[in-house]
Symmetry: C2
Subunit: 462 residues, 2 copies
């Protein structure tokens, strides 16, 4: 199987999970994956959920005696707006300068295709590979993986029999420097909806005594950070720890500096917390971020109104030690306490996900009880990456959230091996998303090495 | 001519001046008015401007010896969004419970039709009415009357020969209590446009060190009022005076109280400045109002980004003593000084208009030099209104702006007689705009009385 041909097919489906109108494309993507997994040598099926289907592909499903690897990826993608900033249409993959451009190329269809191709290649050479593999490919990651926990629970026995989860939905450093992610920030989301007067009002005939909901929104939002850009919600930082020394050292290998990072973003200044550089802020500290705000007149020109309504969409990134429900309650309480008289507030909870951390073998604080298959997989990955890219992988945390990593941990006691495929300039969630083709191709070898190494060693798990 | 039939025709044109796509409807409205004025007995024409045409209707244009009245109104209307809150389509006039519902019914097509019908009626009875009347009906009032001053300047000699301007683009109290407006707040407008990173960013992979433009916008907007809801822009209140005792007494005749007003708006609290009730705040004090704010993801559900951009549309209502350009500069300076590092700001100036005040005859501070025609018009209006509605009109200021009132004053030295036709619950600029049909009909008599009284007295002006 040729990875590039597979990915180019896979990227043509406009399966945006946030858009109800894209449901047919979601279904078509799932059907495509069933076909691809079957071709690769698996028994594949759509498993329906209360939301979008999970595509499951099983190889050696009846062999409890073999090492068992669960592979995770997601086939849904982010919305494409603002569409006018895309240089090529988001669902027509285009190759330029060694990169493949399309929505989902880096998050997560390109990376998600790699293990399928890797298994197909190994089975071509050895149709009796003594390994058990279960692919679980979901369609709601970009909207919070709402129904994937139900899927995991429904298949708890099957999945819990695995040794570990492997996936590529995290970032590497550059085209020569791969990263293995050992931690993820969690997330909570909420929407503030404010209502002032019962209708938009003429700002001349009514402006003055009426509290403007846009003003109230601005005041509430502005109150949530202090002058050092720290979150002012009482108790927000409770439980937030300081990272181990090796983590900071490993992160320093990236060679990133704040000045270059600011240039990359196009800003003239950053706002890091005292004692943390930008790379550390993103990985070791929580945030409270405004993803969108709105209220009143949005069109061209002027409309002289006191608006009736305003909203803010907020997400908080969480680090280990923070409980999502607890943080949500604290943030909601802080917001409610800051709503002025004359304004009604509704706070709508959205996604919730705990942070995650696994210490790689041989590091300070690593888990002596880590099972043999995962230990072997970590080692195989380190060896083949060092050989193919000329540099050892960097073990680091990632700023993003993959809720299901935590679900696999909580429900099935499974740790995850996260191999980064996308890069910092892959423009994930933004226009002109892209992936480096060479990284896709070399990571096929990484997955082949992991599968082969695990297949060579007997199962260690009870 | 029947006022109701005329208005129902007039309201069918979707002439929204803020919407460039509505230009054909603007033209159709202007053409309709040329026909209507001609039918009423005027020589009518479209006068093209750099924007939308002004419709001019002249009766006795060659008679410099006669008292000369300029009539003003505007045929353009506000946008109709949010459309889903309209109970009937905005451009299909519907009569319900003695009211006529449609966009423009109260602002300003219904009121604007009255003097045309009144003149038509008088000329029916007396085709030689010894009066000169010039109708000037513009099409850009709702976007700041940008080109009307050019029109006034181009017709300065003709218009300056008039005795006064009469118009109905202000509010009365209720269906029995008419108001004559003697003051208007001015206005300035501006838009803040903030840019942070050069693209929307994944809030997990980048959230933390990057200043979020929605946060910066919230902080800037929140900083513009203090806890007493007073504007914090340095020097904002310079030149703002205290109103004369008779003004407060006259205003008290409305019988409005803050509790009822809050109920009418559907809010549980008002935020009046100390020493002013709501009615006084609206008429005697300036404001800084957020007409719209926006930034980042506006759709359904969640999109985990750090947005690249955010904006706020702001207008300030001004009172006598404030200079619009001066206030704009002060507000822009205050905003610029509050933009954090890492964020770029653009401040786009929009409309600008001075406040206006004319003291009615016989009141403390009234002008002994007021010309005979205007003095007669004030008196005729007071008499006929008292007779038709059973109560003397209330002389009061209005919270809204009519920029052209100030232009007529500055360019042509003309004062204005402002007869209120719309009511506080006419839902001007909002969904379900409406006008009381009985008020339309009785005001035809008011205009007839003014025209007749002026026609009976020789011109007093040089």
């Amino acid at each position: 199987m040729d990875i590039l041909s597979v990915v180019k097919e896979y990227l043509r489906f406009p399966g945006i999970s946030a858009d109800p109108a894209a449901k047919p494309a979601i279904d078509a993507t799932a059907d495509y994956l069933v076909g691809l997994l079957t071709k690769a040598g698996c028994k594949a099926e759509r498993v329906e959920t209360a939301g979008n289907p999970v595509v499951v592909g099983r190889y050696n499903a009846d062999r409890d005696d073999l090492p068992h690897i669960v592979v995770y990826s997601h086939y849904d993608v982010q919305p494409v707006d603002p569409l006018e900033l895309w240089q090529t249409p988001p669902f027509e993959p285009v190759i330029k300068d060694g990169k493949l451009y399309a929505r989902g190329s880096a998050d997560d269809r390109g990376p998600g295709a790699i293990p399928i191709v890797a298994l197909a290649n190994l089975l071509q050479k050895n149709p009796d590979l003594p390994l058990r593999v279960t692919f679980t490919i979901e369609g709601e990651e970009e909207i919070g993986s709402q129904h994937f926990p139900d899927f995991i629970k429904a298949h708890r026995e099957e999945l819990s029999s695995a040794d570990f989860v492997v996936l590529s939905d995290t970032e590497s450093i550059d085209k020569d420097q791969m990263a293995i992610t050992v931690g993820l920030r969690g997330i909570i989301g909420l929407e503030i909806r404010l209502t002032g007067p019962n209708s938009d009002l003429h700002s001349g005939l009514h402006g003055g005594p009426v509290y403007n909901p846009c003003q109230a929104l601005a005041e509430i939002c502005a109150s949530l950070h202090d002058a050092q850009n720290r979150v002012t919600v009482p108790g927000f930082y409770d439980g937030v720890g300081v990272p181990a020394a090796w983590e900071r050292e490993e992160l320093a290998r990236i060679g990133e500096n704040d000045e270059d990072y600011a240039k990359f973003l196009g800003v003239d200044a950053l706002h890091c917390h005292p004692g943390y550089n930008a790379a550390e802020c993103i990985r070791f500290l929580p945030t409270l971020e405004f993803n969108g705000i709105g209220g009143g007149y949005q069109g061209e020109g002027s409309k002289t109104i006191v608006p009736a309504k305003a909203f803010a969409k907020i997400t908080c990134r969480l680090v280990p030690g923070m409980d999502p429900e607890d943080v949500f309650q604290k943030v909601a309480k802080a917001i409610r306490s800051r709503v002025p008289a004359g304004i009604r507030a509704e706070i709508v909870p959205m996604q919730k996900c705990k942070a995650y951390f696994v210490c790689p073998p041989g590091r300070e604080n690593s888990d002596p009880m880590m099972n043999r298959a995962l230990t072997n997989a970590f080692k195989a990955a380190e060896e083949i990456i060092t050989q193919e890219f000329g540099k050892a992988p960097i073990y680091m945390r990632d700023g993003g959230a993959i809720g299901i990593i935590n679900d696999f941990k909580e429900i099935c006691k499974l740790d995850s091996l996260m191999l980064g495929v996308s890069l910092p300039d892959s423009r994930i969630h933004a226009p002109n998303e892209n992936v480096v083709i060479d990284i896709l191709e070399k990571n096929v070898k990484t997955y082949e090495a992991i599968f082969e190494r695990c297949a060579k060693n007997p199962k260690s798990k009870a």
